[in-house]
Symmetry: C2
Subunit: 432 residues, 2 copies
């Protein structure tokens, strides 16, 4: 069967066999198939969809296009965590040391900032000396030392995904569920932790805007993980506004430290606790006791101690005084009065990228001093003059009036009340 | 709007505007869009389809990607004829001088053989001296001289179609109706004759196997032509077996001369007459008188004289004795007795290509002496020993047993009777 005939099968809505999918992924990974054919098949998959079996096969083939770390073979109790991407999403920085503090190792491969979102690697690198380039044995060393490891995804992990991801971006096939699921899960399965907790964001600032879409993604991701023998749960959480107040690198690290010291943003603390609680239940712990233990760790200093150990193990200096600070802060004051009924998280994310928290070009350096702080939450009663956000300005030259206008425009204040979304929708079963 | 957003519109089943289609075709023609994006959009069009308006816009944009000859501006009465592709389809060679004989000029751009079919240009070039490379003024000179011109399509005609055609071939998007229609009609409208008669083949040897598919194609082609102001009719004709007995270059020229001299294959004569009759009706002539005039031209020598003028005007020598002849002829004798119930025209076409009537590689030369002659028609009563076909062998080295086996295997002889298809199904309205 020629590859053109395989494309024709999917064009006509048929399912592809394991061998056909293997041919596709191999051709994407080693350049053996022309990009024209890959693009046509991606579009056919995007429109016709894939069965759960096909999605699982695609994930497995993408995983095996590169290195498989099979972490569970060495550290069976290690937990991985993944978020589908949000703004003010500082959870990973808190989750890893918090879980370590209650005795469960956390191992994650993280990425850099993409589009309007900030990357976990970029955030951690705001800490002086913090290293993210570790190989498998380096990661295992980190887990032995401090029970938490966050490392950069290497080029050898799921190389076929890189080819396909770049193609999806230009061929308008990014929103395809099987392509999203296989892209995410191939990398998670390549790390190969035995337990995985998924944070599926839902709302105006998320990739999946409606609850139904978010639940669909949560179920699809979880299903592939479980089929691969991974203990997995997914929580759908709200992304109609930034989760935590900080959007940036150094400022998110500071916010993480606040939470780990028992203070900080209540929504960010709560979502982190819920994800950690689900992860501990997956590990066989009693839910109520798990929750109590996590809260205690945040409040009694043990999570903060775990953070310091985590930073030191990665080569970093945990002194918060060393984190880059803004040179200047511009307060954005409300001009109207009423309720805060909408927040454009993507615009806030873009503003944060502008002032330093991301790269506007691939070769641009992060300015760790820059960022955005959000001071209000949906439903808040706003009076003119109340600060709704702060623009943290660092060293990067920025079009200040444009950034300020973008941040100001991200807040919708109206006279009417609006229904507030819950912070955590729950597992697919709890959403119902 | 980025091109990726245009792809997304078609992916989601929306219609594209004239400007969006223009961007697509321009990018295909000048290489301004990456082949990955073109491929993804081709697949989205193939699955989602296009409205009649979109197909018309696509055709117009493809036509304007190159040179427009606008023939009707100079020779308003000229008629063009197009066949969707069949085997033993010698019609064009007869149609052009026959119409000229009854006073209506015919202008056609023709192509070379593709796949298992034989090309009109290849056939004409079997005539010593026959030239097909004429520009617009050369074509008009031919029309003035002999009332019939058949020229090679130049590289400047619808260049965007060449890019898209090559992509369609590898991306499994060949069968898309709007892509087929715009590819065919952009080239017809680039020549720009005021009248166009379409021969849409239907049956096992055609691209469109069922009557419904053929009618759909006929209507779509005719609709685009009429929207562009061209007087157009389409006849759906049978392609369950080769139309004429000859499959090849020189042998088809000989068959054309037979018909033009009032003899030859009855089905080939009849289909040519029906197409010519419809064309004359499009030109405003009375149907019955048109038919009578055409038959008279075939029988009284005037069509044969028009052929000689046609060949001479193109630089060729009309002496049939100069046409290459086979070095050896192998008769294929029936082994079974019964009715001829199926003929695999594609296999016969491939056998003809093998022995010289086509190119097995792009750089291979045609062997005009080679070809296949079919001696039976569907429904014929066959006795063992009756010759069903002849293999004409020229100078090209061929795997003779394989060709003979392929030709023999193309005829299905059974004990049962089968319904015979009509030779001409008629216009879309006549099919009903």
């Amino acid at each position: 069967m020629t590859f053109s005939e395989i494309i024709a099968k999917k064009r006509d809505g048929e399912s592809l066999t394991r061998e056909e999918i293997a041919l596709f992924v191999r051709g994407a990974g080693d350049g053996g198939l022309p990009a024209e054919q890959l693009s046509a098949l991606l579009m056919a998959i995007c429109i016709r969809g894939m069965t759960a079996e096909e999605t699982g096969r695609l994930t497995q083939e993408m995983l095996h296009s590169g290195e498989a770390w099979a972490l569970a073979a060495t550290v069976p109790e290690a937990v991985d965590k993944h978020s589908t991407g949000g703004i003010g999403d500082t959870v990973s920085l808190i989750f890893a040391p918090l879980m370590a503090a209650v005795g469960v190792p956390v191992a994650m491969m993280a990425g850099r900032g993409l589009g309007h979102s900030q990357g976990t690697l970029d955030k951690l690198e705001a800490i002086p000396g913090f290293r993210v380039d570790w190989d498998r044995s380096g990661m295992i060393g980190l887990l032995e030392q401090c029970g938490a490891a966050v490392v950069a995804q290497t080029d050898n992990i799921a190389p076929a995904d890189r080819t396909l991801y770049a193609l999806r971006d230009i061929t308008a096939t990014v929103p395809s569920l099987p392509l999203i699921v296989s892209s995410i899960m191939s990398k998670k399965l390549a790390l190969g932790a035995g337990t995985l907790i998924l944070d599926v964001k839902c709302g105006s600032g998320a990739f999946r805007k409606t609850l139904a879409e978010a639940v669909e993604l949560a179920e699809a991701l979880r299903s592939v993980a479980r089929s691969a023998g991974v203990a997995c749960e997914a929580l759908v959480t709200e992304m109609d506004q930034p989760l935590g107040p900080a959007l940036g690198t150094a400022c998110e690290v500071r916010e993480a430290i606040e939470i780990l010291e028992g203070r900080g943003s209540a929504p960010l603390r709560e979502v982190t606790l819920r994800l950690a609680e689900e992860a501990l239940v997956l590990c066989g712990r009693d839910r109520a006791r798990a929750r109590a233990g996590l809260e205690k760790a945040l409040d009694d200093g043990s999570a903060a101690a775990a953070w310091e150990a985590f930073v030191r193990a990665h080569g970093g200096d945990p002194d918060p005084g060393l984190l880059p600070r803004p040179r200047r802060v511009v307060d954005i004051l409300a001009e109207d009065s009423g309720r805060l009924t909408a927040v454009d998280g993507e615009d806030l994310g873009r503003a944060a990228v502008e002032v330093g928290a991301g790269r506007r070009r691939l070769d641009e350096e992060i300015d760790d001093a820059g960022g955005i702080e959000v001071l209000v939450r949906l439903g808040d009663s706003i009076e003119p003059g109340r600060p709704v956000a702060r623009v943290l300005l660092g060293h990067r030259p920025v079009d200040e009036p444009a950034v300020i206008a973008k941040v100001r425009g991200a807040f919708t204040i109206t006279e009417t009340d609006a229904d507030l979304p819950p912070l955590v929708y729950g597992t697919p079963e709890q959403v119902g």
